[in-house]
């Protein structure tokens, strides 16, 4: 979410900290702030507001949080409105999914393109300017986090009905998208027309520059219904993002008054109806018993009890001895642990020392024996020269259609079945190694294989193994006491769950360089002539150092030959290079073995 510093300062006039510090402080108290930038002379922050803080999806809530943190006064920007009209709007609410709606009619408007300040505000928020009336509704949504809507009464009429859709088959949104409706959709309609979704206005009653009369409304709904509607219609809007959070119905009058005053100031006109306020079940907030010793106990550092009370006061809680009643804005505070978090975060996580880790304590080993088995098997296979690979647990095609488990919603068409065997994936791994001309592959994987028996899903641990030399594979399996059949060429697979398990096993630590191959391995031969016989291993080490490890995959001596005429020794090397093109590999090769 974007936040303009100067708008924040309207709520906290004494807020003067440097943008860098504000960014860091916002992050430390739970609103991760990536960066700030300058847009049209405004400093704009980019924040990640977490799903439990619907109140901070607007400047109002965020400013309340910061005023507590910095202990600075908070200024309410909204002023009361008065309506002298006796006219009662013919609005109906027929669904319990509406928590609160406030609405009124404003007539004799003079709509126009937006003033510069409003256009800049919306630009900083990544929104396009439409016209003053529409832009003001968006401004209020960003300011208070409460979506709202303005209907052109010339198109919508006044008989607005909040209802679960039962009559309309389709809806055209403000951007012209055609959405197919059913009876689970919460809507605002008139008797003849679908006007608006709960989270998206409709084209049929859109405000334009000719609009002279409007009905504005601010509403909060059952958030689950909005969330389901948004998903069902595959439509996410700034409004749906907010309405599916727990918003504060008590804040509606403040935002409503602010919007109404702004419209009157910027578009002229008069309030031409009574204020409609549907609020069947006003918010009731329960007090939470709070033990003031707990912030210290939970954090592990001393937090004075007075500090907790001070924080609760600044948050706007009602305090009655040890009973704390949070403000209605803070829907995330419902239990004692929530109050503790408030105290600790405002006290400052950075005050908790970082150098006091737990020390050893014997609490009993609950490691499942199969973990020890897997770790010991891995170490034995490594000792035998096998490399460990990991392959995709989801695969393209089943081994056995009757027992395969299919995923319902995988978006990857190449990965819809849970693997029943490791072998097909290891075969793909071999194909890949073959493509890269990797010599002498020998590798293994230990992983889950899956199947279905009736309604039960079965998971088993399996070992899949490949060796380029089949007889060596059989020898190695014998060494590991693994009785299995070679399945396919040089592959073997065994379910390891029933093997004898070690009581305890401490695995070896290994740090090695795995390589991401980007091209084929290039093998090149070279002969060198020496006067005396030398240990080929010493020669391998010598030339390896000359070439360097960055692109040398392997270096071997393939032949040693003594010329009977000269008595000199010819050593034939094969050097394999990786992640190089042919030309560069050849160049390094010729230079190393002095073949130029």
């Amino acid at each position: 979410m974007k936040i303009i510093y100067s708008e924040l300062q309207k709520f906290i006039p004494d807020l003067k900290v440097e943008p860098q510090k504000l960014r860091d402080d916002l992050t430390m108290i739970g609103h991760f702030t990536n960066y700030f930038e300058e847009i049209d002379g405004e400093i704009v922050f980019d924040l990640d507001i977490k799903v439990n803080r619907g109140d901070c999806l607007g400047y109002y809530g965020l400013a309340r949080d910061l005023s507590v943190f910095y202990n600075l006064p908070f200024q309410n920007l909204s002023k009361p409105i008065n309506s002298s009209s006796n006219y009662s709007l013919p609005i109906k609410v027929t669904t319990q999914n509406v928590k609160r709606v406030m609405s009124t009619k404003i007539s004799n408007l003079n709509n126009s393109s937006s003033p510069i300040w409003l256009q800049t505000f919306l630009k900083c928020h990544g929104s396009n300017s439409i016209n003053t009336l529409v832009d003001l509704t968006n401004y209020i949504m960003f300011l208070y986090g409460i979506p709202n809507h303005a209907f052109d009464t010339a198109k919508s009429g006044e008989n607005l009905i909040w209802e679960m859709n039962s009559k309309f088959k389709e809806f055209i949104s403000l951007d012209g998208s055609k959405l197919i409706l059913d009876n689970k959709i919460l809507m605002i309609n008139n008797p003849n027309k679908a006007l608006s979704l709960s989270f998206w206005g409709g084209e049929s009653c859109a405000i334009d520059l000719t609009t002279t009369e409007t009905i504005i409304e601010l509403a909060i709904y059952n958030r689950t219904t909005v969330r389901q509607n948004s998903r069902q219609l595959k439509s996410v809007t700034e409004a749906s993002i907010r309405l599916e959070k727990d918003l504060d119905s008590e804040l509606i009058p403040t935002a409503f008054n602010h919007l109404t005053n702004l419209i009157l100031e910027n578009c002229g006109g008069q309030i031409n109806s009574q204020i409609f306020d549907y609020y069947p079940n006003p918010v009731k907030i329960s007090g939470i018993e709070f033990d003031s010793k707990l912030p210290s106990q939970v954090s592990g550092i001393n937090i004075p009890q007075d500090f907790s009370i001070d924080v609760f006061n600044r948050l706007g809680c009602q305090i009655n001895n040890n009973l704390i009643t949070p403000p209605s804005l803070r829907k995330d505070i419902t239990i004692e642990a929530d109050l503790i978090e408030e105290v600790v975060r405002f006290h400052g996580y950075q005050k908790i020392p970082t150098n006091q880790a737990l020390t050893f304590k014997e609490v009993g080993d609950i490691t499942p024996p199969e973990i020890y088995l897997i770790e010991s098997l891995k170490d034995k296979l490594i000792e035998l020269g096998y490399d460990e690979v990991l392959t995709w647990p989801l695969v393209t095609s089943p081994v056995d259609k009757k027992t395969v488990i299919k995923t319902q919603n995988s978006i990857n068409s190449e990965a819809i079945y849970l693997r029943q065997s490791l072998i097909p994936s290891l075969e793909q791994q071999l194909d890949q190694y073959t493509r890269f001309k990797l010599p002498e592959p020998q590798f293994f994987e230990i992983g889950k294989v899956f199947s279905k028996e009736g309604d039960n899903f079965i998971e088993k641990n399996a070992l899949g193994i490949y060796h380029h030399n089949q007889s060596q594979l059989l020898t190695d399996l014998e060494k590991l006491n693994l009785k299995t059949q070679i399945i396919n060429d040089n592959f073997a697979e065994i379910i390891i769950d029933n093997l004898p398990k070690p009581e305890k096993y401490i695995p070896n630590q290994q740090q090695n360089n795995a390589i991401e191959l980007t091209s084929q391995i290039i093998a090149l031969d070279a002969n060198i002539i020496l006067d005396t016989k030398e240990d080929p291993i010493n020669l391998i080490e010598k030339y390896s150092q000359i070439i360097g490890s960055k692109n040398l995959w392997k270096l071997i001596v393939t032949d040693i030959y003594q010329d009977p005429k000269t008595n000199k020794y010819r050593y034939t090397f094969q050097a394999s290079y990786f992640n190089l093109d042919d030309k560069t590999a050849k160049s390094i090769h010729l230079k190393t073995f002095d073949l130029i």
Binding site: V298, T367, V389, I515, V557
Partner: protein, 339 residues
């Protein structure tokens, strides 16, 4: 199918299966699909076919061409495998350094972390990968329709009940249930987790997380932060700078987010850290009272902490791997010996 094309197909099917070297295959490929190859000629002559038959013939021609190309590719793979086998069989007098086996980089990191926690008395734990909604969400304080569910896009086996676990916190659910009468607990669990992500260079549907959990009496945030810091210093070295901030996760409260100062820009802001100067390293916090209660553990008596982090990006950075797909199959390889 057109008889002439049928004959071509039959003739070349036999020819392809008899080819034994890459060079022979390449020659045949040029003969069939080169600039002056058979198929180029056939496509050129397409205009000579009567209009009413041209479309059908053109489609058959394409099918035949694709089929032969496919067969050549398959034969090429066979030939390469045979060549490698042959090469391996000719190795009786070859001098080489001893062959080494290698652990996968993810396993290496997991073992490194297991060792840190083993020394503190932690066990290693695991649980199924196909899980129920109850263990993946409900027991972790994420009821149906909670917006926190949007933080994870699940892969379902049988919606809404069965899914692939989306986080290692799910292992925590199983652990707490299994050991609720056997407290205190110290356990760590590496594991694969699944999200419904398109596979590309940066994202995968399966990745690896590491989680550690403590349930005991009088566990504090100081214990959590100190232990996490020990872990980060083990992984990244003693000079690593980590900050611990307030962060929301439904299964913990208070929640703690560890951020590591960006190793690329040292906090100045760069594309790697999205100009934040910090890199988010995972999530943690004191186990939420509702999570303990769901497991039958009295939060008035017992408390605990949990923290989790992803292993893939750290491992990629450590091994200079640029493509996440490399970690799961693909082109991850190891040098056969120490050079």
């Amino acid at each position: 199918m057109n008889q002439n094309l049928e004959n071509i197909k039959t003739q070349y099917l036999k020819k392809i299966s008899n080819l034994k070297t890459d060079k022979e295959l390449e020659n045949l490929r040029i003969e069939l699909f080169g600039r002056n190859g058979l198929f180029n000629d056939l496509f050129t002559k397409l205009k000579e076919i009567p209009v009413e038959k041209r479309r059908e013939y053109g489609q058959e021609l394409n099918v035949t061409k694709n089929e032969l190309e496919r067969l050549i590719a398959i034969q090429s793979q066979k030939v390469q495998k045979t060549e490698i086998k042959k090469m391996n069989n000719l190795r009786s007098n070859i001098y080489d350094l001893p062959k080494m086996g290698h652990l996968h980089p993810i396993t290496q990191t997991e073992r490194q972390l297991n060792e840190v926690f083993r020394k503190l008395g932690f066990s290693v734990y695991n649980s199924p990968e196909i899980v129920t909604d109850e263990f993946n969400f409900e027991r972790l304080n994420v009821p149906q329709n909670h917006p926190a569910r949007d933080m994870q896009d699940s892969i379902y086996i049988k919606e809404p009940e069965y899914l692939l676990r989306t986080q290692t916190s799910t292992i925590e659910s199983y652990l707490l249930k299994a050991k609720s009468k056997d407290l205190p607990i110290r356990a760590a669990f590496p594991g694969s987790v699944f999200r419904n992500e398109k596979v590309n260079r940066s994202n995968h549907f399966v990745f690896h997380q590491y989680q550690a959990v403590v349930v005991d009496k009088n566990v504090t945030m100081k214990d959590l932060i100190g232990t996490m810091d020990l872990m980060f210093k083990t992984l990244y070295g003693p000079d690593v700078v980590v900050r611990y901030r307030c962060k929301y996760y439904p299964e913990v409260e208070p929640g703690v987010g560890p951020d590591m100062q960006c190793f690329s820009c040292h906090g100045q802001g760069c594309p790697l850290c999205k100009y934040a100067g910090w890199i988010e390293m995972g999530g943690s916090g004191m186990i939420h009272p509702k999570v303990l209660e769901a497991a039958g553990i009295d939060p008035q008596v017992w408390s605990g902490f949990a923290f989790g982090m992803g292993l893939d990006r750290w491992t990629m950075a450590q091994k200079n791997i640029k493509d996440i797909r490399t970690l799961m199959g693909g082109n991850l390889a190891y040098k056969p010996n120490e050079l």
